[in-house]
C-alpha cells in the first residue's frame, strides 16, 4: 500500500507519525496529499528526491532546468546509468561498497528498497565492452563484499542530462526482458537485447498465432538442455557447423545427427538461414507467451 510506505518515510525523515483508517489509506487523495507533504518536508535541498522524480519522468522541463541549476549539475557531459536490482532489500553494506567503487563523480539514487541507480560521469566515451566490464565489476563487488545477489541493467552512454530519463526507461526494460529471456544472467544491456526487444512489443495473440502457424505441433518447453544449448551455440556461431561442433566439443557428425533430429521434430532445418530465423523468433515467442 503506497500510503503506508509514505507514512513510514515521513516518520523516518521527520519523526512525525499519523494513524489513518484502512479507508483513508486506500484513498488516492490522501496518498497524493501525503506525497505533497513529504515533498515539502524534504524541501528544496533534497537532491535524491529530485533525481528520483526526474528519472521517473515526473518533472517538467522547467523543473528539470531549475533542479539542474540548483544542484550544480552539468548539462552536457558523458554519463552512463546503471540500474541495480537487489534480490533482498539493500543494506548499508551495499551502499558502502557502491560509494567506495566510485571514481569521483558517481551519483547513487535509491529508487526503492530493491533498486539503486548509479549514474557515472565519464571523461571519454566507453565502448560496449567497457560498459559491460563496469557493470560486471559492480555485480561482482556487491556479491563478494556485500554478499548481495543483484542484477544490473544499462543503456548506452548519454551526453545530455535530460537523456538520463530515457536511459533509465531503457534500463528498466532491459531488466524486465533480461529476467524473462536470459535465465541466470546478471547483466543486461538494452542494446544487446536484439530481437527480444522488438518481439516483446507484439501482442500475445499475434505471438501465439505465429507459433501455431509455424510450429503447430511442437512445444519448445519439451526441448532438452542438450538440444537447447546446441541451437544456442549454432546461432552464436552464425550457423557454422564446424565452429559449433568445436565449441560444443562434439564430432561434426554428432552435430549433424542432432540437427536432423530437430528437423524431424519441427520440420525446421537449422542449417538454412530462413528456418533458423523462424526457430529463433519462435523460441523467443515461446518464452514470452508462457
Amino acid at each position: 500500500m503506497e500510503a503506508l510506505e509514505l507514512l513510514e518515510k515521513l516518520n523516518r525523515e521527520t519523526g512525525l507519525s499519523f494513524s489513518l483508517s484502512k479507508e483513508e489509506l486506500e484513498n488516492p487523495n490522501i496518498t497524493s496529499k501525503l506525497k505533497h507533504v513529504l515533498s515539502s518536508v524534504r524541501g528544496n535541498n533534497d537532491r535524491d528526491f529530485f533525481f528520483q522524480q526526474f528519472l521517473l519522468g515526473q518533472l517538467t522541463s522547467e523543473e528539470i532546468s531549475a533542479g539542474r541549476l540548483k544542484f550544480h549539475i552539468e548539462k552536457s557531459v558523458n554519463r552512463v546509468l546503471f540500474l541495480i536490482a537487489f534480490k533482498s532489500p539493500f543494506d548499508e553494506m551495499s551502499l558502502s561498497v557502491l560509494s567506495s567503487l566510485e571514481t569521483g563523480n558517481d551519483l547513487l539514487v535509491e529508487m526503492d528498497q530493491h533498486h539503486i541507480v548509479l549514474i557515472r560521469q565519464c571523461r571519454g566515451v566507453l565502448s560496449e565492452e567497457e560498459l559491460y566490464k563496469t557493470a560486471a565489476s559492480i555485480v561482482d563487488a556487491l556479491s563478494t563484499e556485500a554478499m548481495q545477489a543483484v542484477r544490473i541493467s544499462y543503456d548506452r552512454m548519454v551526453s545530455e542530462f535530460e537523456q538520463l530519463v530515457s536511459a533509465y526507461k531503457h534500463a528498466e526494460v532491459a531488466l524486465h526482458l533480461g529476467v524473462t529471456f536470459k535465465n541466470g544472467k546478471q547483466i543486461h544491456s538494452y542494446h544487446d537485447l536484439g530481437l527480444e526487444k522488438l518481439l516483446y512489443r507484439i501482442s500475445m495473440e499475434d505471438a501465439k498465432e505465429y507459433l501455431e502457424e509455424n510450429l503447430p505441433a511442437f512445444d519448445f518447453s519439451t526441448l532438452d538442455n542438450e538440444m537447447r544449448s546446441t541451437i544456442k551455440v549454432l546461432f552464436n556461431n552464425q550457423l557454422n557447423i564446424a565452429e559449433t561442433a568445436k565449441e560444443l566439443f562434439i564430432h561434426r557428425n554428432t552435430l549433424i545427427y542432432r540437427l536432423d533430429k530437430f528437423q524431424k521434430m519441427t520440420g525446421l532445418d537449422l542449417r538454412s538461414f530462413d528456418d533458423a530465423i523462424i526457430c529463433k523468433v519462435a523460441m523467443i515467442l515461446a518464452e514470452y507467451t508462457k
Partner: protein
Amino acid sequence: MASISLKNIYKIYPNGFEAVKDFNLDVEDKEFIIFVGPSGCGKSTTLRMIAGLEDISSGELTIDGKVMNNVEPKDRDIAMVFQNYALYPHMTVYDNMAFGLKIRKMPKDEIDRRVQEAAKILDLDKLLDRKPKALSGGQRQRVAMGRAIVRNPKVFLMDEPLSNLDAKLRVQMRIEISKLHDRLGATIIYVTHDQTEAMTLGTRIVVMKDGVVQQIDSPQNLYNKPGNLFVAGFIGSPQMNFFNAKIEKEGDNVVAVVGQSRLNVPVAKAKALTDAGYVGKEVTLGIRPEDIHDSQMFIDASPNTVIESTIKVYELLGAEVFLYFDYADTQVTARVDPRTTAKMGDVVKFALDMEKAHFFDKDSEVTITN
C-alpha cells in the same frame, strides 16, 4: 575449514529451464575442487547456489553438516573471488583488504592483524600503502585474493578469477593459487572453462555439460579414463581425435575398421568390446594426438595399426610438432617429436597406439573401454 555436501541439487528457472540437474558432490575438508565445462553448463550457477546468491530449486546443501539452503550468503562463512573484481580506486592496498571487515564492524586491532597476516602470505606486505593504479595486474589480483583471505572463511569460492589476466600472468597466478591452497589448507571450489587450469589446479575435477555432471575424478583419470565422449573431447589439448569405426572379428582377432584401414584391437579392449556385444556394430574410436606416431620404429613394431595420409599443416611448437591431416572424413592431429622429417604436402604413414585407444558407444556416447 569445512566439508561441503550437495545432494540432488536442481536449479530450475521459472520458464522451466533446468540449469543444473541432480548435482551430487561431497567435498572434503581442505580439498581443491574444480568445476569445469563449456559456457552455459551450469558450473557458475552451482557455485552461486553454494554461495547463496542463487536459490536452490530442490535438493540439499550442507556445510559442515549444517543445512544451508535458506541461510543468507553473509551467514554461510564463505568468501568469494570473482572474475570482474574491482579494487576501490581511492583506497590503499591495506584499506582495500580491510574494507570488508570494517563494514562488518570488526575491531581495528583484529582487522590489522588479519590484513598484515594476509599481506605476508600474498607477498603484499611492502605494497600496503600503494593505491591500486600503482599496482601490476598480478598484484591487483593478489589484493582481490587478500580481501577474501582476511575474512578467514570456512570455504573459498572462486569463479574464473584469472580470466581477465593475460596468458603469461594467468600461468603465474595459477602457481600462486596452488601455493596459497597449500599454505591456507583451505577448502576451495574453483570454476573455470579452461581445462588446462582445471587439470593443473584441482585435486578433483567436476566436468559438467548442459547442467549435468559428466564425471568427477582426478585430473589423471579424466585424461586417461574418460567416462564418455564429451569428457574425452573436452579434457586434453589438442583435443582427442574421433573416428567412426566398425568392430569386426578377423580370425581370433578383433579389428576396428576405419576408412580403408583395419586396425588391430589389443586383447583386453577386444574382450571388452566382444563381451558388450559390439562386434558387427559401429562405435566411435578415440585416440589422443600423442598416441599417433610417425617414427619408423613404432610403425615397424605395430604394422596392424597403420594409417596413411597427406600432411595439410605442420606446426612447430619448439618441444613438439603438431601434424594435421584428414583421414576417413576426420580432421586428425598428431603430436610428434620435433625431429620428424614430415613436411606439409608429404604422404606420411602413422601408427596408432591402440593400447591407448578409447571406444565409445555411438548412441549413448558412454565409454565402452579405455
